[in-house]
């Protein structure tokens, strides 16, 4: 069904492309948000990726490759959003006033803030492989294809990202226990 939709969209069928947006939009948005940690920039990245996909779809020979192709466009759009945002907000940390609030009690507000900060210190390239593998559940080979690096580089980026997040959580819990003892 998806392949047929891609073929119709490639031929200029806007309705078919809209159905592809409905099918893939949620996952694209979930990925973009987790890479950028910003609702509005994630929306911009998804919009940019889909519009580029529409523009360039006639060149896509193999409709079966639509999904990895779209994710590649999305990741590039996220990189660009990150770079554009950095130009405007160097050294300014934007507090998410209306951002998503954690509903899971496993993650305290402190933990969430700690992880957000640690994650935002990572490069968008590290964030992208982490999100594509651990959130979207893509195999390493597909992640490598999407972000444009060898599998070995994906592994090292994943390792670095996980270590950074673990270290942040551990350091935070040590500070908490020290403060508790002092109190």
């Amino acid at each position: 069904m998806r392949t047929r939709l891609v073929e119709r969209a490639r031929d200029g069928d806007e309705v078919a492309f809209t159905e592809l947006v409905d099918l893939d939009g949620d996952l694209c948005y979930a990925i973009a948000y987790r890479i950028l940690r910003d609702v509005e920039r994630a929306q911009d990245a998804v919009q940019q990726a889909f519009l580029l996909a529409w523009r360039e779809l006639p060149r896509l020979r193999d409709p079966e490759r639509f999904s990895p192709w779209l994710r590649r466009l999305l990741v590039n759009a996220c990189y660009e959003e990150h770079r554009r945002h950095r130009r405007w907000s160097t050294r300014i940390r934007v507090l998410p006033l209306d951002g998503p609030v954690s509903s899971d009690p496993t993650v305290s507000v402190d933990d969430r803030d700690t992880l957000d900060r640690a994650f935002l210190r990572l490069s968008p390239q590290h964030r992208a492989v982490f999100v594509l593998h651990h959130h979207a559940g893509l195999p390493l080979t597909e992640v490598a294809e999407i972000v444009g690096v060898p599998v070995g580089t994906v592994k090292s980026r994943l390792h670095r990202a996980i270590e950074a997040l673990r270290a942040a959580i551990v350091a935070d819990s040590q500070v908490d226990s020290t403060e508790a003892r002092l109190a």
Partner: protein
Amino acid sequence: MTQAHDPDVIIATWLDDGPIDLPEETRRAIVVGLRTQPRARQVAILRGLPIMNSINRLAAAAAIVLVVGGLSIFALSNRNSGGPGALPSSSPGASVVPSASVAPTPSSTPGPLDTTTWKTYVSNRYGFSIAYPADWVLTPATREWTMAVDAKDFLGGGADHFLEAPNMGVGVNAWSVAVEPGMTSAAWLDAYCPLNTQPCTGIDQRSNPAQMDGHAGVIVAFTDDVQAFFLVDGRMYVVACWRPDNDPSVAKYSGAIRLVQTYISTMRLLPGGPAPASSSPAPS
């Protein structure tokens, strides 16, 4: 340590937390935006052609042989007169029919753009260095370019990609691939073109001579793109801009031909050639 304080559990929960539904306003913006986007033209897809029976197939083949043969004789007589963009070809018949849809490349084009602010990327995988505008997004190749896979997919992982920022409206690819011993540029193009672009006839007429690091080659204008080809020491080096020369998106570069000219003006072959396939990691 309890499970609630296991860093991995906390990280997994934190990662899953957050929005998962594309907001309706974004969806609407995409749908409305479709109507304002110029679209690339579709390349010919052979499987869409009607299925022929054997007699029709034989008749069509005979007709093609006659037409191509006649045109080959015509083209060879023209080629002997020495056109500047003529490619050495092992199968001249496949690339001599003039195309009405693509204007011939002007014989004299302006020089390259100013590249003083461009960044240099070294492609160990493909054995060259090349510069690109500092604000473009670079995505290095993830694997070796192959005719079977990558000629059909201009965004695949077999080429180094350069995408214009911020809206990624213009893309340039660069890669190289070993060609069979004794194969000419024209023979390689005959195999590559039908998989990748169009028209594949009249290439000689649309070719402009070009130089890459002192090596001769050609820049060819196709309907939807402009590509440069250099056959050096048994390896084909290709730089492709996925926009037609007169597309509005490349007007700021004075056209796709000039943009490709500029890219190749910065290109240098690495002394040792490409790294072996198994040990050519792209930069992280």
